[in-house]
Point group: C2
Chain length 331, copies 2
DNA sequence: GCTAGCAGTCTATCGAGTCGAGTGCTGAGG
DNA sequence: CCTCAGCACTCGACTCGATAGACTGCTAGC
């Protein structure tokens, strides 16, 4: 545990470093706080903080830079999480005015969050896991290809093509369609009801395959929306850092894993190596789940440099996730 | 017009610069060619080439760098467009093995192209404009919200939500659904057939609104797939160049405009400012349309630095667009 | 028309020297 | 025991001058 003064010093070092991106010296800390101690005292404490692993000195005669541990202490002790009112109003307005498909809403939410924070933003939606099927239809595309189309209660559509070995008549397709629809409608896609027997072995087999294909496609339904990837570029000064991060951001699977992982560990913020992904060592992630009708159905987050404006990012993520949940609960 | 030797010199300068990213001197040109002239002669020609606008000298006592005009001459006079056989085989294999939805196919095609060239790749699909409707269904989502779902002959789904003023019974939704389906099925989404009159003014009005909404959504169907955006990072050495380019790549509308623009002007390659977009001044674009059954239904392209390996990129784009068209024509 | 040779130009690099920011330590004072 | 002014020290950043090297343009001879 840190005594109060050291904690204050650590806080100011982090804040200053976030602001200036330059190593922070004892003089700068003395100037930036209202503390009535001299820079010499601060120097002693900073040396101690370095020993304890919270700060790092790039070289003698340079100021200090926070370590991941330093940032960690900082975010664990943030008291005031507040967004300037103009910002919160922007968010509320955004969710009041937005109309249209769920997909667009989520994409635009990522855009909003990225805009507010100036980092890359991610929205992950698995509300589809718990949505119920409103309609199912099997549509014949080509002589031996059919497409199963599922409409879910949240307006999302899931589909999967099914290869048919031999020609199947339109009438048979229709009856398979009805049978599968019967066992899906009203249920979650992953938990279909019993499949009504059609009587013809060929068709029953096909119906089962269709059902398996369609409910199997449910796994792909973790929809991911990334926006503002370009913004992370300005946070780094080495081109290859930028490339590493962008490469990760392009792999949506990795992004999803990182975010769910962080949430599973009960964290809201993952700093540097805490992300668990080596190319993100210079990055931090701030996440929050969002809820619809009390149930967690997705998560949103931002990804930026470890030298991130945590209070602002945490506040933005919190407000947006709250408002997004509210908006989605309204339908 | 350039005499043969100057042309050869320009070619080598471009090739060397593409390879090394360093200004190319007369000595390097002499060493890289089989020409039996001395560096002094080459010097004279290079000075002339600079006067004519094909080369640029960053400063006295530096080698020369191609201008956009120099690249233009180079690409206009590329003779052998050939991909190493191993590469072409990779492409053919790729299209033989790939299965599944059109969307995944196109996304993976972008991935393939990016992989081959090491630049960002773009695939634009407007095959949906000419696809015919296989099925239409109106699904009720909430008391006053319904979703029109269109399944097209290429397996693509288009949808649009429709707000209903008042409660509409399930039976009425079904009859609207049938009416709209009747006038859409078998037609292109943009050219529906006549709408069957239901007799009830309220429902007819609603049916028209649904039809308008659904065929209006067709405009959004220009599907764009971008892959390998991260790769462009390594092509530049200034972080803000990277950011400018990435910002453009994130705006799919701009990307589509640039690519269709280039094709409309009858070009296959746009170099630097030829792209018509200011942030892409340091970039070049190589595009090709792809055809299904003889009809152009989309385009693919790569985006990289002006210092691009044009022969390789042009060859890759050509081969991939050809194979993609062939694959899609097979169904 | 070509080219060897040469003088001239400009960059990149290196070392020396200086500046300044910031440190750690010490010793005096509360 | 804590605080702090003072001081010597360290080390990166910047400047300057000199040097080396990469090219060039020009000239004069073949």
């Amino acid at each position: 545990m840190l005594d109060e003064r050291k904690a204050a010093i650590l806080r100011t070092v982090v804040k200053e470093y976030i602001k200036t991106a330059q190593p922070v010296g004892s003089g700068a800390v003395a100037a930036a706080t209202t503390m009535s101690v001299s820079s010499a005292t601060i120097r002693n404490d900073m040396a101690a903080l370095e020993n304890e692993g919270f700060l790092h000195q790039p070289h003698t005669s340079a100021g200090r830079v926070p370590t991941d541990l330093g940032y960690r202490y900082f975010v664990d002790n943030i008291s005031e999480i507040e967004l300037p009112e103009t910002e919160s109003i922007k968010v509320v307005d955004f969710f009041q005015q937005i109309r249209g498909e769920l997909e667009h809403l989520l994409k635009d939410t990522a855009g909003l969050l990225s805009n507010m924070t100036d980092y890359a933003a991610v929205v992950i939606d698995h509300s589809t896991d718990s949505a119920t099927v409103r309609s199912f239809q099997l549509v014949s595309l080509a002589p031996t290809v059919a497409l199963g189309v599922v409409v879910l209660s949240n307006g999302v559509i899931s589909k999967d093509t099914v290869q048919l070995q031999s020609d199947v008549s339109e009438a048979d397709i229709a009856s398979i369609s009805r049978a599968v629809a019967g066992c899906l409608e009203g249920h979650a896609l992953t938990e279909p009801g019993p499949l009504r027997i059609l009587g013809e072995p060929d068709l029953d087999l096909l119906a089962e395959r269709v059902l398996a294909a369609v409910s199997g496609a449910a796994g792909e339904l973790d929809h991911v929306y990334v926006d503002g990837a370009a913004r992370v570029a300005s946070s780094f000064d080495a081109v290859d850092s930028v490339q590493r991060v962008l490469t990760i951001l392009e792999q949506q699977l990795v992004v999803v894993n990182v975010m769910t992982d962080v949430l599973d560990r009960g964290l809201r913020v993952a700093i540097g190596s805490e992300t668990g992904v080596e190319p993100l060592e210079e990055c931090s992630v701030v996440v929050a789940p969002f809820q619809v009708d009390g149930e967690e159905v997705g998560s949103i987050g931002v990804l930026g440099p470890t030298r991130m404006n945590y209070p602002q990012a945490i506040a933005a993520v919190a407000v947006v996730s709250g408002q997004l949940g509210r908006r989605l609960s309204e339908g």
